[in-house]
């Protein structure tokens, strides 16, 4: 009996030790990317749940079906946009609308221009150009002119022609007049007076 117990006990003890050793090894060799991987999976899971909440089509709750339903729903929305856009264009392309639109623009610009000119005259605003030197190659620019279509684009083209690099700019419209205030920088030296006269002449000229 004693001998039998001696033979049996060591086997069990060795088994227990093996189990404990395995547990210790697992704890010691934990993966360094474990936390990062968990965060990545958690992020994807949250996004998928949010996507599921936005898509009314529900085929199944698996990840693949969530993505499939989203693809289907986006397709349907895009079709809706196309249909509405076609309807919108069809309404615009109607013949009577075209006739009316042709007449309207002819009347409006005249009225607007006359009103704007009158307003400027009443307030005593005059076209003006100021150019001051801030640094060796930096200038401060101020232009007051009448409001017209494409005036800002024209201004930008002049800046490009003169080689001025805009550092900051501000444009304001009020009572038919436009105020442009800008800080510019040049790569080449230029004459202040000549530039000022050139700007004034260009801004006054009608397109």
């Amino acid at each position: 009996m004693g001998g039998g117990s001696r033979f049996q006990e060591p086997v069990r003890m060795s088994r227990r030790k093996q189990v404990t050793k395995e547990k210790e090894e697992d704890e010691n060799f934990k993966s360094p990317n474990l936390e990062a991987e968990r965060r990545r999976r958690e992020k994807l899971h949250c996004r998928l749940m949010a996507l599921r909440s936005h898509v009314p089509i529900v085929t199944n709750m698996t990840k693949a079906s969530i993505v499939e339903d989203a693809i289907t729903y986006i397709g349907e929305l895009q079709n809706n946009v196309k249909n509405l856009l076609e309807t919108f264009h069809e309404m615009e392309e109607a013949p009577p609308e075209i006739d009316e639109e042709q007449t309207d623009p002819m009347i409006k610009p005249e009225v607007e221009t006359s009103d704007l000119n009158e307003e400027m005259k009443k307030l005593g605003i005059e076209e003006n150009v100021q150019l001051c030197k801030i640094g060796e190659r930096k200038f401060w620019l101020k232009i007051i002119t009448e409001k017209r279509d494409g005036i800002f684009t024209k201004f930008m083209e002049v800046m490009r022609f003169l080689g001025f690099e805009i550092i900051d700019i501000s444009l304001t419209t009020s009572n038919g007049a436009i105020l442009i205030s800008a800080s510019v920088q040049t790569q080449e030296l230029c004459d202040v007076e000549q530039t000022k006269d050139f700007l004034l002449e260009v801004m006054r000229s009608n397109p």
Partner: protein, 420 residues
């Protein structure tokens, strides 16, 4: 001669056989020692009879010598192998059966056997004989009964009638011994069957589980992953300007795009409704005379205001590698915000786009901030134009991308930077 005297005395009592039986039965329990001595004196005859029985039962043993001392030695040898056999069987059971209680019981039995054998030197044969029938097969039970009968009988002639007289005593002893052995055997059989069933069930479950897992999941798992990846690819293709390739970003941008599409649909519905209202009003104008144009215009404005309580409102964003465009529309006012990495001044091109879209420019502000250009445009939509947020954003983004690429190609020095 002493022995001869013993035989003669027994022969004298032959005619009184039943009386002797009763006397012995009453005599034996009262005085144990005399019975022991009697058994010892009869050991020789018992040995000879056992030799005969052994010859009949196991012919293989006949090769061994038939002397009393040799037989006694044989008995000892037989006993020890039995113990070894028990030990081996117990070892096998320990290997097969994990239960500890059975093992402890077997070891305890063995220990008791050894203890019983040790002190009783005077009667080893009798004890061994008693044990053999218990541990061995049922047929051995009969020899023990025969031995008991021999102790009572003396001559060969008297043997047969005594045997016939003692016949009814055999069944209860035999049945008792048989029952015990049968129970033990049936128990062992049940245990073995249970073990076998357990093993079979375990093997079956393991095999079925493994087979089912391999067959069901292995090919399906790979197909499932490929399918999942393709779905993300399709989703990415639907998004207008994807920035990153990881799945979380794709899903996030899909959510934003769905929201944008819903807002765009609402915007278009509102525009279409306004167009219909205008059409109805214009049809009404045709009927009215020129004199009442002013009044009709006022009426139209009132109707429009009443019917269209909700203001038009939409917004969206566009992002690319170098440029961010943010467009917001409230009623007829448009706000465009542009942020671009510092390469070229985008103001000229944006102003051209604004003119093309027939937007009335009201306010512009912007500057160079660090490595970026940042500009804010405020404009008004002219009446009758078909401008919507996505159109503005798409157009601006397209122009800026084009100009940016031209600038990169023009500046050879920055080629390395663009490659990074």
């Amino acid at each position: 001669m002493g022995g001869g005297g013993m035989f003669e005395e027994i022969g004298c009592f032959d005619p009184n056989a039943p009386a002797e039986m009763t006397a012995e039965s009453s005599f034996s329990p009262s005085e144990p020692p005399p019975t022991i001595t009697v058994i010892g004196s009869n050991s020789n005859s018992n040995c000879s009879l056992e030799d005969l029985s052994a010859f009949h039962l196991s012919p293989q043993d006949s090769s061994l010598p038939a002397s009393a001392s040799a037989y006694a030695h044989q008995l000892h040898i037989n006993a020890t192998p039995n113990c070894d056999h028990q030990f081996q069987s117990s070892m096998h059971q320990t290997l097969q059966d994990p239960s500890y209680a059975q093992q402890s019981n077997h070891w305890d039995n063995g220990y008791q056997d050894f203890v019983n054998l040790g002190p009783n030197h005077t009667t080893p044969d009798l004890l061994s004989l008693l044990q053999l029938p218990r541990s061995s097969l049922p047929p051995f039970a009969n020899p023990s009964i025969q031995d008991i009968i021999m102790t009572t009988s003396s001559s060969v002639a008297a043997y047969d009638p005594l045997f016939h007289l003692n016949f009814p005593l055999q069944p209860p002893n035999g049945s008792f011994m048989g029952v015990d052995q049968d129970q033990t055997e049936t128990n062992q059989g049940v245990n073995l069957m249970y073990d076998e069933e357990n093993n079979n069930l375990d093997d079956g479950l393991n095999r079925k589980g493994r087979g089912s897992k391999k067959r069901k999941i292995f090919p399906t798992e790979r197909e499932r992953r490929v399918h999942f990846k393709d779905r993300f690819g399709d989703l990415k293709n639907l998004i207008p300007n994807p920035t990153k390739n990881d799945r979380a970003s794709i899903v996030g941008e899909a959510i934003d795009y769905i929201k944008e599409l819903l807002r765009t649909i609402d915007e278009f519905k509102l525009l279409v409704e306004k167009k219909r209202v205008k059409q109805r009003n214009r049809e009404g104008d045709d009927v009215v005379d020129e004199n009442f144009k002013a009044q009709s215009e006022v009426v139209e404005q009132c109707l429009i205001n009443k019917k269209n309580n909700a203001l038009r409102c939409s917004w969206l964003k566009r992002k690319s590698k170098f440029t961010d465009v943010d467009v917001r529309i409230i009623d007829d006012e448009v706000t465009i915000k542009i942020v671009q990495k510092k390469k070229i001044n985008c103001l000229l091109f944006v102003s051209k786009v604004v003119d093309q879209l027939e937007l009335d420019l009201h306010h512009v502000a912007g500057a160079q901030i660090g490595e970026h250009h940042s500009f804010l445009f405020n404009a008004k939509i002219s009446e009758g134009s078909s401008v919507y947020a996505s159109a503005i954003a798409d157009r601006v983004m397209e122009v800026l991308k084009k100009q940016y690429m031209e600038a990169l190609s023009a500046n050879n020095g920055y080629h390395c930077y663009s490659s990074d």
